[in-house]
Amino acid sequence: MDPELIADFLNEAQDLVDAANGDITALEAHPEDKELLNRMFRAFHTVKGGAGFIGIHAIVDLCHKAEDLLSEVRCGNLALDDAGIDAVARALMQTEQMLGQLAQGADIEPAPEEILQALHAARYPDGESGSEDINEDDFEALLDQLYGEGGAPGVSPAAPVAVEETPAPAPAPQVSDAAKTDKNPTEATAKKGATPAEAPVRVDAKRLDQLMDLVGELVLVRNRLKAQPEGLDEVARRAVAELDHVTGALQRSVMAVRMQPVGRLFSRIPRQVRELARSLGKKVEVVLEGESAELDKHMLDALSDPLVHLVRNSLDHGIEKAAERQAAGKPESGTLTVSARQAGDHIEIDLIDDGKGIDPEVVKKVAVARGVITADAAAAMDTETAQGLIFAAGFSTREAVSDVSGRGVGMDVVNSRIVELGGSVSLQSEVGQGTRIRLRLPLTLAVLPSLMVRVADRVFALPLAEVRELSSLNVEQVEQVGHRWQLPLEKNVLPLRFMRGWMAGDESTHPGLIVQTFVEQQPWGLVVDSVIGREDIVVRPLAKHLRHIPGYSGATVTGRGEVALVLDPQSLIRAGAYRRVAA
């Protein structure tokens, strides 16, 4: 089979499944909504059709059963009860899984018998079997009957013979009638078709990546030209200014092409929550907000797993069982709100649950038991820092294999994944009231506005989004508290990290500039030797064996052609903090 055809099929099928995922939740609330039923039906129907030609019988069989059930329901011959909706939801999930296997070139096993049986049971509540199939000869006989022996529709007049043996489900007009009376739909449809919409063009994601890579290279060349204005004469300088402008516009246009609404990601959440809530014996409502906010396609894909884990975490540890909630005076059903909104060149995704919150004492106890922190450190720790421990490496037990992803993943993995994407995770939790986890992510991974700084004789890039303030430093004002340096401010203190010292491993102070940043809602000052300026950089991942070194998230080539490491304040501060605690 033509691999391109399979790719096309997967593309279209995935769109259908995404849409159906959204519809299935709506269907729960309105199980008789014709429009929804039609759409769901068509999703299965279309996927089945395509899968048939590609020869994936497992998908055909599964989709056929779901389609058959929905067909009866949308015709009004059958009502869909909870078990029925459930069966359809599971069929949808199974279909998606199979499409995933197909995408990876894996063998596709037939769907689990229980799913097929559930569909069958919903379709034939009384255990009857379906309408019989017609064969070739029957059809020829039928045409003979309708148009006379050897007659053909549109050519021969319809014979005045009623079709007796099979009652048609809908009163189908005779051909001759249709010729006279069915004018209205013709006109209506003709009118509808007369307004041509601009047809979207499907483009392979790989080509977009290539385009973006090229734009990235162009940005670097532009940066190099901009970095050496001395060598250019007036004419060349003007041309560079124009090149600068056009490159920026090109970059934004290409980025816009890769943008997709987060709704694509969110559409899976209701179903996931449904499944999880059922298996955990909890009641949970999902509220989705801001689905139209857009994010780079790669970012969206990369967020899929972390989001699944965060949702799971909320249901596992946040939202309580109905009885427990009632006892606490809360509504029986918990609410998980997932919202997205754009904030400048960033997007914020919030997961808010009204569960029991994170008890800092419990977290501390677990962290001490697992050797993440010492008992002394735990005793001195404030509430917010303690709650933040759930993101610390080693906090989560990974023995439990989650049935969501098939592998056990802790919050630390979610956190490091988000940081890898150039984002940050923050947490706000009120015991008894609930938890809010906020993911803050750049809209795209492709080009990162950065502050270029110098430490010793090396250049480093700091993501501009992480930088709050620049200020000068008077070394004499710095205080030492234990192993920690801090700068007393009017109301509070600013903890400092001296970058030159940190990199040399001696943690000594030195003069420089303070780059203020926020780590877990806490201001921190990074002391660098000097600031070079702002630059749009193209981040390249570090080589595999360097990737786990804390403090760095990638590398880039500067306008002057130097290699600069990209600093990651979060992991930088954390690495220091935990090293100190462990010592």
Binding site: L5, D138, L142, P153, G154, V163, P169
Partner: protein, 130 residues
């Protein structure tokens, strides 16, 4: 079979249109156009001459059966042969299509060979009726 026939393939699923187009090409047809639902198909049929329509049954908006009825109701188009592509051969469905004036049906998935047989059968009957 006359492979110079101009054929309109109607399906909302582009993969499916491509599959059917490939099969038709395998059979030697080269004048193939596509429409993505019943109403665009009808617009195409009214503005351009076609010899044959292959349409999917299930489409959003104007379905295959609606398209079929519209064709049979149009004085200029009513002799146009229509082959309906269906997902299954349920008797009641096919009877409905036959009553609406379909010339033939073919069940997905099908091979070029099956498609050829279906087309031959349709033209055989049309010749007989003429």
């Amino acid at each position: 079979m006359n492979t110079n026939l101009k054929i309109l393939v109607v399906d909302d699923f582009s993969t499916m249109r491509r599959i059917i187009r490939n099969l038709l090409q395998d059979l030697g047809f080269s004048h193939i156009s596509e429409a993505d639902d019943g109403s665009t198909a009808l617009t195409a049929l009214q503005s351009e001459h076609f010899d044959f329509v292959i349409t999917d049954w299930n489409m959003p908006g104007t379905t295959g059966i609606d398209l079929l009825k519209a064709i049979r109701a149009d004085e200029k188009l009513k002799r146009l042969p229509v082959l309906m592509v269906t997902a299954e051969g349920k008797k009641d469905q096919i009877v409905e299509a036959a009553q609406a004036g379909v010339n033939g049906y073919v069940i997905k998935p099908f091979t070029a060979q099956t498609l050829r047989e279906k087309l031959e059968k349709i033209f055989e009957r049309l010749e007989q009726a003429a």
